[in-house]
């Protein structure tokens, strides 16, 4: 925390520190949802086990309910049968949420170029970090987690992804029960509320910090 405070003493001190504070909290308390379908899931099990120990990055609390998770790890090949389910799982996760595509199958279809394999999950859901490898070594998966942490730290907490983003096999995804305008309106209201709260919180802490300074 000291570094966060000291980094931002010079410019725009209060607003950015809240931003950084939230991001800092988020990046060290990720709750991953392992959407494991194939080989990569076995390597992910090795990552959570003792020798590689994902707990060092604060992301060991694996959740199997999308409602309780904020990082979706797609581990393995996604087929046409699995694709609608992946989309629904992603839709059910609350914001903020991030996606890591682990392995070449999730990233691009890999060497399964055929009639029943999805050629990369980014056709359905947005992806934050891609991990190459078939399967990636545990070090590569850990590296992806670190990359994502850096990204989370940088992007701030007011990011808007657009709920209905992405298409399903070229067709706009109609899976989401909530229609697009409602989502946008909700997000707008949420953004305004956050801004209001953010400003008032900022004001409060600015006074505090001035006193302490």
């Amino acid at each position: 925390m000291d570094t966060l405070w000291s980094q931002n003493k010079e410019t725009n001190f209060l607003a950015t520190s809240l931003e950084q504070l939230v991001s800092w909290g988020r990046k060290y308390s990720m709750w991953p949802y392992p959407f494991g379908t194939a080989c990569c899931a076995i390597e992910f099990m090795a990552v959570t086990a003792g020798d590689y120990d994902l707990a060092r990055f604060g992301a060991e609390l694996v959740r199997f309910s999308p409602r309780q998770a904020d990082v979706l790890l797609v581990l393995g090949t996604i087929t046409c049968k699995q694709a609608p389910i992946l989309k629904r799982i992603y839709d059910q996760m609350p914001e903020p949420k991030w996606v890591i595509a682990v392995g070449v199958c999730a990233s691009s279809g890999g060497f399964y170029q055929n009639y029943h394999t999805l050629q990369g999950i980014d056709g359905i859901i947005p992806v934050d970090v891609y991990v190459p490898g078939c399967p990636p070594r545990p070090e590569a998966i850990l590296n992806a987690v670190i990359e994502l942490q850096n990204k989370v730290q940088k992007e701030g907490f007011r990011r808007d992804r657009g709920e209905a983003g992405g298409t399903l096999l070229g067709i706009p995804a109609a899976e989401s029960k909530v229609s697009l305008p409602v989502v946008v309106a909700k997000q707008e209201a949420e953004r305004k509320r956050r801004e209001r709260e953010g400003t008032s919180a900022a004001k409060g802490s600015s006074e505090d910090s001035e006193v302490s300074a």
Partner: protein
């Protein structure tokens, strides 16, 4: 003696038998579709016990020859549990009227295999109770393994099958209350992301259900037809990715059988060592998560310690941890590295330490015993009717291990016991694997001795046009470079024919049925996955138990989606 069954069939049914052969030692009869039921009934019931009743159906698959008038073909692999004899029946039909009588009445296991053959080739099995797609999406159109279906032709498939599609309905009971139909999975922790169960529940009890699989159908068999024999190896690796060395060596051995390649002794010893390491790692991956499903997390970390010891050998041997692709057609690309024996012996120490810890944790644990003993019982008769093999079949007391009954490599020269259970319940299914890991250690020890005897010998067969030359020669000798180029670009010249080869995979009999037309690519590469028949038993075995117990039954099955759905 070996052709006795074929001769008997020819004597009994001359009107149906078109042709017989024993290419590469596999007895094969090509028969008319109308002769299938009489012949199978005869083989199952009336044939003299001396020849062996064919009481177990191993596998059904299809094949397509577009140039023939009767282009489609269903292929049946039968075996006898008395005499261990095997027989292959091939039934050609035309694409205009692809009708074959169903064998569901004769062998329970035929159910899913016929569905798969229908899905892939469009063969109609008359009399089948639920002839719907099994691997591909329920809205899929066409039959992808027919030669005229383009490999990369994708379709717009956007929603999961509705519950009504499965035909599971709620019923009114005598007391006026109704049963409830619930959808479980596929994205549910207990289904491990690969299975969907549409369950009819009476309170907490599972009354009926229908399982949907195919969530990882990534078309390995279609991909195999588009690659040269050698390049299928990475696809074979990703079948049962938990014990990859067993898959690649089985595929390599199948091609070697089809081509008539004899591999050096050292390769055989090395293959046995790699297979047993794979088996230990596979059993760890079953036992760890199965215990997690019961709430015992500690064991998971212990079992991964064992897996890491196995990874160390694979990593240092081929440079890859999980999907190692260590085999080549004809043997191995490189000999073992320095320190290989020490790393393999190290596995023994790790297994003894951590497996001992796990045994102390579970075998007298009241919670573990209450949840597993007498849960999901299966009899040996059921195991045979469902065509099961491997640890699950052995847990019922049906002692069938390919390594004993049909020894390959040097399994007939090493000393090990086949572990069998008695009750066929979840406890036995888990404990058979625990004890099998100890037998693997015995084989590893003897395998290292065998390997030491063959020090300095080659690990790769040398057959022009079929096996790769040594890597160092490829870059320094003209002939080797040409040979390497030809094999990589044109494919191995495997002579035309068909062969089925099977080994004891970690889950049971893993087989490859290969057909070559003499070109550089397989005409057909069918995998017989041990999981497939196991998964089929699920609703029958779990029926009548509590939903929480049904979960544990599934955990004890070791379903690996890669080989289940290919």
């Amino acid at each position: 003696m070996s052709r006795a069954v074929l001769e008997e069939l020819q004597r009994q049914f001359p009107q149906y038998i078109r042709e017989t052969h024993s290419h590469r030692g596999d007895d094969t009869a090509i028969i008319d579709a109308e002769g299938l039921i009489p012949i199978v009934t005869f083989l199952q019931e009336k044939i003299s016990p001396r020849l062996g009743r064919m009481d177990k159906l191993v596998d059904i698959c299809g094949n397509d020859y577009p140039e023939r008038p009767e282009r489609l073909e269903a292929i049946y692999h039968l075996m006898s549990t008395d005499t261990w004899k095997r027989l292959r029946l091939r039934v050609p039909v035309s694409a205009a009227e692809p009708k074959i009588p169903s064998l569901v009445g004769h062998y329970k296991t035929a159910n899913w295999y016929e569905r798969e053959t229908y899905d892939m080739f469009g063969i109609q099995f008359e009399g089948h109770p639920f002839l719907k797609r099994i691997l591909t999406h329920w809205k899929f159109e066409g039959h992808p393994l027919r030669k005229d279906y383009p490999k990369e032709k994708r379709q717009h498939l956007d929603e999961s099958a509705p519950i009504e599609w499965f035909g599971v309905k709620s019923h009114t009971k005598d007391d006026g209350t109704e049963t409830l139909v619930v959808n479980i999975g596929p994205s549910h922790p207990v289904t491990h992301g690969i299975m969907r169960l549409v369950a009819e529940l009476d309170g907490e009890m599972l009354v009926d259900g229908q399982v949907e699989i195919g969530y990882l159908h990534r078309c390995m068999e279609k991909e195999a037809e588009a690659h040269t024999w050698g390049l299928v190896m990475p696809y074979a690796d990703r079948l049962n990715y938990v014990s990859a060395p067993i898959n690649t060596q089985t595929y390599a051995m199948a091609v070697e059988k089809l081509a008539g390649i004899e591999v050096p002794e050292r390769t055989k010893w090395l293959r046995m060592i790699m297979a047993e390491i794979g088996r230990i790692m596979d059993h760890c991956t079953l036992l760890g998560p199965a215990l997690v499903d019961m709430g015992a997390l500690t064991n998971f970390w212990y079992f991964f310690k064992i897996r890491e010891a196995g990874y160390r050998v694979l990593d240092r041997f081929v440079g890859s941890r999980l999907t190692s692709t260590c085999d080549r057609i004809g043997g191995y690309a490189l000999d073992i590295y320095e320190g290989f024996e020490d790393d393999v012996r190290n596995i023994r120490g790790v297994v003894e330490k951590y497996l001992g810890d796990v045994e102390r944790l579970i075998t007298k644990n009241r919670v573990f015993l209450d949840r597993t003993v007498n849960v999901g019982r299966m009899t040996a008769e059921q195991a045979i009717a469902f065509g099961l093999s491997g640890p699950i079949a052995r847990a019922t007391g049906y002692s069938y291990d390919v390594r004993k009954q049909y020894p390959y490599n040097f399994y007939d020269q090493v000393d090990f016991d086949v572990v069998v259970g008695s009750a066929g319940d979840t406890f036995d299914r888990l404990m058979v694997r625990v004890y099998e890991m100890k037998q693997c250690l015995r084989i590893l020890e003897q395998g290292l001795k065998g390997l030491a005897k063959t020090n300095g010998q080659p690990v790769m067969a040398d057959v022009q046009d079929m096996t790769l030359p040594p890597l160092e020669d490829t870059y320094s000798k003209m002939e080797s470079m040409i040979r390497h180029f030809n094999i990589i670009y044109r494919g191995e010249r495997i002579p035309a024919g068909e062969a089925y080869l099977y080994t004891e995979g970690a889950n049971g009999e893993l087989g490859f049925y290969l057909v070559s037309d003499g070109g550089g690519k397989p005409h057909r590469c069918h995998v017989h996955p041990p999981c497939f028949s196991v998964m089929q038993t699920y609703t029958d075995i779990a029926k009548g138990s509590l939903l929480a117990d049904a979960v544990i039954v599934f955990s004890s099955y070791n379903i690996i989606a890669g080989e289940l759905e290919r």
